[in-house]
Amino acid sequence: MQSIIKSSSSSSSSVTFIRIRQFSTSSTLFNNLSNSNKTIVSEEDASKSAPLVALHKRLNLPNDYKLGTLTRALTCRSSRGNLANNYGLNILGKNFLSYYVNEYLLSKYPRLPLPVLNTAVSSYISTESLHNVGKYSWGIEIDETPILNKILNEEPKEYSLGKLRFLPINQIEETGITKLTSKSKDEINSSSAYALGVRSIIGGLYISTQSEDLTKKFIYDHIISRKLDLSKMFEFEQPTRELSRLCKREGLTKPIAKLLVENGRLSDKPIYVVGVFSGEEKLGESYGSSLNEAKIRASVNALKNWYLYKPLNNSVPSDKDYKPSIIDHGIVIV
């Protein structure tokens, strides 16, 4: 049996051999060690970690992306041990993400109002959103096995390098053991840790490749490619009033709602289709079961048409063949 294992672990494939034994006890007695002497994991050690190699390949990371860097991206500042942590990588990744997501949304929807823009950006890169990316699209695992179990299972030291390491808030309560120390400020919940990991992997991609284009492409492929319906993110308080302010600012004729079609006015389920016109131009159209409802819906439709205007060329300023499109004048203040 031993010979099989040796032959498989000598290759670059990700195979580990673990002898499982059943233990009922678990231990969380180990405290956080100081992070003063940080070491960066060597490539040889890192390549022994099967989950790390698999994660590297799963994300199609380039060969320049060292496994040591990936380990560092998965090590949060609060984790125990003396490995180099992802503090700097996280900041870099965050800057990359917020710039490119803002750029994408601003170029795609130049007239998007600021509150919606900010919400849309945070939908893409908020902690919760990045937690979903890390956990449910990249399949990063948390290093949860207590150290005692690791030793008893004869788990290789390097095995946990491929897992997300941090100090969790909810440590398991042991009967008979009372925790005397107060809650450390380094303790974070798992979703923040996942977000840290995802941002750091993106930061690490730039550090490894020194290529802004590659990092941008990675962000587009993994973060921006997810589907977000912006038209469902609007809620107007006074749509008719806002529309008339908009028309005034843009120098258009005052908007007028007109009934286009109706059906069943005398029945209990009437339906009206109303269009909002500015001069001869139709700004929006919608339906409703009363004239007022239809008029409000039509105004909302007109406002959404305005705010969600998409220019035909889809280039962003960081593209090489960028063509400038319109620049918005700002949100309408009622």
């Binding site: 099989i4 498989s8 494939s13 919760e128 990316v133 449910y136 492929d221 809620e235 289709v273």
Partner: protein, 139 residues
């Protein structure tokens, strides 16, 4: 504020932008001496190395335990798929591994539609109020 934003979370659609293999780990549980593990033992000795090299995105984990051999796939969605491979020969073991590899971890279910979509209908919904008024039905 005149416009209130409603927070939404974007939906991940695997394959759009990037494709990520959903099977992340396969555990091969083998008995050292049992007769039903013969095929798996052969597989481990002869083929696992090449198989693991050709599937670098998957982590393989060998577990030694008494009883029938079981292979278990661990998926990104958190589910597991276990197959008992007792008395199977080497080729059948490999087929079962392929089955785990090619699955997305989702539970098997009936597929009623040819196409599953979360996009809005592009052509829109037909409206009786927008047809030509000369042929429109009037109540």
């Amino acid at each position: 504020m005149p416009i209130k934003p409603i927070p939404l979370l974007p939906k991940f659609q695997n394959g759009l932008g990037s494709f990520i293999l959903q099977c992340k780990k396969i555990t091969l549980q083998v008995d050292k001496a049992g007769g039903s593990s013969e095929g798996l033992r052969q597989f481990l000795k002869l083929r696992l190395n090449n198989y693991a090299i050709s599937n670098p995105k998957i982590e393989f984990r060998i577990v030694e335990k008494h009883g029938h051999p079981i292979i278990k796939g661990h998926y990104i969605n958190g589910r597991e798929k276990a197959i008992c491979i007792r008395n199977l020969n080497v080729d059948n073991v490999e087929n079962k591994l392929n089955l785990l590899k090619e699955s997305s971890g989702e539970q098997l279910r009936k597929r009623t539609n040819k196409v599953e979509s979360i996009n809005q209908s592009i052509r829109g919904i037909w409206s009786p109020l927008h047809v030509d008024p000369s042929i429109r039905h009037k109540i």
